[in-house]
Amino acid sequence: MNKVIEAKNLTKIYGKKAAAFTALKNINLSIYEGESVAIVGKSGSGKSTLMHILALLDRPTKGEILIDGKNASKLKNKELNKLRNERFGFVFQQFFMNANDTVLENVLLPLKIAKLGRKKRKKEALEALKIVDLESKVKNKATDLSGGQKQRVCIARAIVNQPQVIFADEPTGNLDSATGDKITDLLFDLNKKHGVTLIIVTHDEDLAKLCNRVVRISDGKIISDQTVRKDLKKAASKKRETEAARVKKANERK
């Protein structure tokens, strides 16, 4: 199975000298194509820090990240930006939307950054909004939406660039359980139907159970790493189909 992201000997130290705080210690972790990985741990255990480093949003103090076997630490900022823009999707606990923009504008932001043309990006944003069932809210201001709807817009934004991996940091943390379930369904749907690799940071055990792999961390160290179910093959073959579609789309954009 293909390794999408591999972390080798990751150490992250915040601050310097006396104020230095080691948030991650010697983490070794490989994420495989089509997996749904839960990163579970108490608050302050280093989950978000790990996710940020895996997602190339932050650089480790020691150790390296390999993307498709290539060392990401050697990449320039520009290349990292491009990689994130094309391969990754992000969902955050606090949504992070531009409140004054319309739902559509929020969703097509990654494509705008990718310098996609006006018509194409609108078309693809509409498709993404269809998947999260929010076509009717296209023209609404982001502020006018409920929490669940906001998170669905964020998911649409995360999938609009046809990403290989979606990183979700406490995606249901700010939602009631019924709404949270809907969001969870959406994410796992993407994983199962479209073969998108999911990396979910959570302290919610129920959400973690739905993932086929659970990585537990405590005080910056991995204390357990269990692959729960083995239906990855199916997801992986699905993934290959969507990967082919993604490459095709990417070629069309050029």
């Binding site: 949003l57 900022n77 930006n81 994130r84 823009n85 992070f96 990654p110 950054i113």
Partner: protein, 435 residues
């Protein structure tokens, strides 16, 4: 992000906090308005001076006098140094200097670039009246060689000597006294111009005025910079009046110390060099009006400094506004960075916002100063400028306005670099953690 999208986004972000943006634009506006309007007025004044200079000969017309007189003449025309006390010199004469000899006149005429040169007759005219009419009016007339020199005419033509008769150009002020309805009606009318015969007056004080006839061939359009407000006549009339006034005056008392003529302006410096060798110097109309120009230019500089100070204050306003904006949009910046937007693009996004503040302020300055400028100009032409139809109080030069706008945009850009740098340096992680 594409540049066009960046500009659109920046403009959109700008008008999110409308009041703050408006106030910043207002600050830029105060500076740009001051500079644009004062430049427009300066252009208007200079254009009017140019037009006037052209009517009295432009750069081709020269007034020649002995070198020793330069300071006196230049002083009268608004230059030179009249306060110098000089030792008397028999050869160069007293205050007014020595006469121009025929020999020297011939030498000067032969200098390359000199088109014509004539002794200037200072005529002491008494009056002018329409032929056959009773009413006499004070008048003063002057002859300058026709050449590049042309009068701004509202009717008729320039004088010439081809007709063999005396010719005169009056100005519109004379129409009413002469009982004429329009400039056209004046053409072809004959007038009598009278001079005092100085020598005769010693003998018969009550009978020493003689007159010569002249045909009105043109009517001059109103202006301010006529040569002393004197009416222009042709050489035939000039010679007639001069010989009448100089009848019986001994040769030694004749004062011919000024010559006037036309030259090729391109050869001005060379001509001056040659004239100096012969012992003469000259001033041009441009020399004479340079002082007026200097005065208006100095006013412009003062206003530009005011505008500049206002712009400096506006630049600080831009810095402040954008710092607030960066602070407010920390998360948005973090998100954009997380989604793959580069440092440079973030810097550009905020820089463009700064440039747009400058642009809108400047555009508003152009708009308002045009509205005010043209309105005042229209009112002025109804009232105190009614006599000067060719005087445009304001002239908005597109090139000037473009340059001013670009400079303001550049200032805004420089001001914006500080907040833009701060924005571009934001770490996406910290920005997204920021509560």
């Amino acid at each position: 992000m594409k540049l066009f999208d960046l500009i659109k986004t920046a403009n959109h972000n700008l008008f999110r906090s409308k009041t703050r943006t408006f106030l910043t634009i207002l600050a830029v506006f105060i500076g740009s308005f001051t500079i644009i309007l004062s430049n427009a007025i300066n252009s208007g004044v200079n254009d009017f001076i140019d037009k006037q200079v052209a009517t009295i000969g432009g750069d081709s017309f020269i007034e020649v006098f002995p070198s020793a007189m330069y300071d006196q003449v230049a002083g009268m025309m608004g230059g030179g140094n009249t306060s110098k006390v000089k030792e008397y010199n028999e050869n160069t004469g007293g205050f007014m200097g020595a006469n121009i000899s025929n020999e020297d006149l011939e030498k000067m005429r032969k200098v390359d670039g000199v088109e014509n040169l004539e002794i200037f007759h200072m005529l002491s005219t008494e009056y002018m009246r329409l032929e056959g009419a009773d009413k006499k009016y004070d008048v003063s007339v002057e002859y300058f060689p026709e050449g590049n020199f042309n009068v701004d005419l509202s009717a008729g033509r320039m004088t010439s000597n081809d007709s063999g008769e005396g010719e005169i150009i009056i100005n519109e002020d004379w129409l009413k006294p002469f009982g004429l309805d329009s400039a056209k009606d004046a053409l072809g009318k004959t007038v009598e111009v009278a001079v005092k015969q100085t020598a005769k007056c010693y003998v018969t004080p009550n009978n020493c005025i003689a007159s010569a006839k002249a045909k009105i061939v043109g009517v001059q359009a109103p202006g301010v910079l006529t040569m002393d407000g004197d009416l222009h006549i042709n050489q035939i009339l000039d010679n007639k009046l001069y010989s009448l006034s100089m009848e019986n005056v001994p040769e030694s008392s004749v004062q011919n110390y000024i010559a006037v003529g036309n030259v090729d302006p391109a050869k001005m410096d060379k001509i001056r060099e040659e004239f100096k060798k012969i012992g003469y110097d000259f001033i041009t109309v441009s020399d004479a009006v340079s002082m007026i120009r200097t005065f208006f230019d100095a006013i412009l500089v003062v206003f530009n400094i005011f505008g500049g100070i206002a712009l400096l204050a506006a630049a600080i306003g831009i810095i402040n506004t954008l710092f607030m904006s960066v602070q407010e949009r920390t998360r948005e910046i973090g998100l954009e960075k997380a989604l793959g937007m580069g440092k440079g693009k973030i810097f550009l996004e905020f820089s463009i916002e700064a440039i747009l503040l400058g642009f809108w302020g400047s555009a508003l300055g152009i708009l308002i100063s045009m509205i005010i400028g043209y309105s005042v100009n229209a009112v002025a032409h109804e009232t105190f400028l009614a006599d000067f139809p060719t005087f445009e109080l304001v002239i908005f030069n597109p090139l000037n306005m473009t340059i001013i706008t670009l400079i303001i945009m550049a200032i805004a850009f420089v001001a914006g670099t500080l907040p833009a740098r701060k924005a571009s340096k934001k770490d996406p992680i910290n920005a997204l953690r920021y509560e």
